[in-house]
Symmetry: C2
Subunit: 431 residues, 2 copies
């Protein structure tokens, strides 16, 4: 078998159980986003390469999958993140949109990097953004939907923490520690890589910037300093108060070591980490007030967060918040068991049940043993088994409620409507 | 504004109303597929380029978006269709799968061609496949789920027709018309392009193959010939009988002008066309018994169909089966109207409603005029309006059922649970 017959490195084949888990994640993201008043959008899977170089500089190109059409000149790239698409879409439609715009999306994203634990070449990512609100209320909306999603997954404030930071506060703390202003970008970059560097190397590099180990303790979760963050940024102070007022204090800690590598953040930044500390950030985001303008729109404030499926799934598994993948497969409403010699009645019955909007299956095995077929129905977690046996001659089927272990006879011509009503299904010709 | 700030040619930005329509299409595809016992799968958005050249030959490359990683040697391509991925996935897992495998998927697909009406560079495509069943029952299952989907969209057998054909029958008809066997591929290719060529050019090319206009009438919908299709292919005859027995006779016609360009079909082929004849095929598929083996698996029979979102949407619009896009946006359960000076109670109320699993919104406009705010609630098609006014001092809110135009007072501390029960919502901490 050649390598062509395997999924490309860093990508995934989703067989039914894994696909069912993915749909579970997406469905929680979608339903909580909608409850919080966000509207779903999407853009193209690939964009003009320039969209990314304008935002992130030419250095980004080596991290992207980029290409041209055979014989074409235009350069495209698979999207590595959704924010540039969002900025472009808002910029080009700003006149007919009435801000604040509250959008979410669940696109697939691509990185041309070496795959690592929690970081693949293709992943699914949930994005929520509030565009057009400069006040801390925008951050609060984004953090509230984020916490809503974490809770719906069954995670608690003991499983995960939102590490909150603000670029202006980080800047003041660094300058207060005696850092030369010219070295701010280098210090930001170093803080951003703290978790990836060996402690000794981090300290050594910090020392060359003139930062000693004592000073660096300020850049730890909950680190205390003489500087009052609310004094540096009134906006950030208001956000912390708003979170406390909303009863969300237990979900966050300030952590001024969080700077977020992406240069376009302009104020608040945050990451969600599992308290176990074993995985990469589950989610990250912040305020990026310059992006819509960068793509040709008017100055427009914006806040957003993104959460990928790979780290999320690892954390849900580690915290016992995910059942075995098979349990996420759709449950059949009805499993039809055919004990008759011919398949005509079975086929008509299955077709009627499906037309009535029910999820109906039958065995593809040759066996006529009731016990074996009932255990197949059980294994699929069907709600009802319909048994076509000798009662069929009198126009009736035996219907077994598999959870309640109750059994009754139902006439064949009312079977589909009876079971439809019990399962609250919607027939196929009613959109 | 540079071109980089627009979606690439042939791709689409999905703003909320268009996204809602797309989700409507996907949700019908998904729910009917599940009802028919298909399980969802997905693969990578890009595959090894070789996967496509092995199946379709080197000629396919110019129709694909292909690329390498910077500095890498492996050639990849954005997937132009799902079948190769499916064949590869079945081949590599055949030992743990118990055929027949019934899979569906809803991936995005890419073509590096000049965009045309109904044919974009990126589109969403529904795929269903039955793998491991050589009998006409497999075709029947695929055609039944296809008709189930068409019906759920509100289409009838007067709006659309399935044109059924069989490669072996087409071959016999061509040879019976005196075609030289060596010219079969050329004749297949010509039939496949009949709709795209001017009639005169088609006739001329047919004549050079030795086919006269009279003969060619056989290759029209319902065309009659001295050859009995069931005599040529027993399998095809059984399929037609099975469709008639299942009450689906009105949905199809035989049309031996349908050959399907893709060379991997091995028997039955079919397309779905709007009776208006104005658009491209809505869907197409057939039997491809050689594909799993081609990707390293054992000989495995397979039947499948694919339907893209672009032509489908055009046909649904033309037949009046699609409402205005806005009506597909999710309806809020509750719209909170704040007549108080402060926003604290509003924010707490909205948060409680959302925590209870309800889709809750409030106005972002400054107005306190009840009439204006109620009409905003109406415009969003909210089910309930919760009015926070002077009753709030006594711990109550006015709740208006907007469809029934009924009004009542509910105490604030039972508001979320009361409305949750009325809307059958699931709270956020119950996954």
């Amino acid at each position: 078998m050649t390598h062509a017959f395997q999924a490309p490195k860093g990508t995934r084949d989703f067989y039914p159980p894994d696909m069912a888990v993915r749909r579970h994640l997406e469905s929680v993201w979608r339903s909580v986003s909608i409850n919080h008043g966000f509207e779903e959008v999407d853009g193209p899977t690939f964009e003009h390469l320039e969209l990314y170089t304008v935002k992130s500089g030419p250095g980004i190109v080596s991290e992207l999958f980029s290409f041209r059409r055979a014989g074409g000149k235009t350069e495209y790239a698979l999207r590595p993140e959704f924010t540039p698409t969002l900025g472009r879409m808002v910029a080009s439609a700003i006149k007919r949109l009435s801000p604040p715009v509250k959008w979410f999306s669940i696109p697939t994203m691509f990185r041309a990097e070496r795959p690592q634990r929690g970081r693949l070449r293709e992943h699914v990512q949930w994005n929520v953004d509030v565009v057009g609100d400069a006040s801390p209320a925008a951050e609060l909306e984004v953090l509230a939907v984020l916490i809503g999603v974490l809770r719906r997954f069954g995670l608690t404030d003991r499983d995960v923490t939102i590490k909150l930071s603000h670029r202006q506060v980080v800047t003041e703390l660094l300058l207060g520690a005696g850092l030369d202003e010219a070295r701010l970008p280098a210090a930001f970059d170093l803080l951003d890589r703290r978790d990836k560097l060996p402690a000794a190397e981090f300290d050594e590099r910090a020392a060359t910037l003139g930062l000693d180990a004592g000073t660096l303790e300020v850049f730890r979760p909950g680190g205390q300093s003489r500087i009052d963050p609310a004094g540096v940024s009134e906006h950030f102070g208001q956000l912390l108060s708003a979170l406390d007022d909303a009863g969300l204090a237990s979900w966050y800690t300030t952590d001024f070591g969080i700077v977020r590598g992406l240069a376009y953040y302009t104020g608040t930044v945050f990451e969600v980490h599992a308290t176990s500390g074993r995985e990469r950030a589950i989610a990250g985001g912040g305020r990026y007030d310059g992006l819509v303008e960068l793509f040709g729109g008017p100055p427009t404030p914006a806040v957003g967060v993104a959460m990928g499926d790979v780290v999320l799934r690892l954390v849900l598994e580690e915290t016992g918040r995910l059942s075995t993948p098979e349990t996420y497969l759709p449950r059949p409403d009805v499993f039809v068991i055919n004990l008759l010699e011919t398949t005509g009645l079975r086929d008509r019955t299955v077709a009627e049940l499906r037309d009535a909007g029910l999820h109906a299956r039958h065995s593809h095995r040759a066996t006529k043993k009731l016990g074996k077929l009932l255990s197949e129905a059980d294994q699929l977690r069907a709600r009802f088994a319909v048994i076509l046996g000798r009662e069929a001659e009198e126009g009736r089927a035996v219907v077994k409620d598999l959870a309640a272990a109750k059994e009754e006879e139902i006439t064949l011509d009312t079977l589909a409507t009876t079971l439809r009503d019990r399962c609250h299904a919607k027939p196929e010709d009613q959109p």
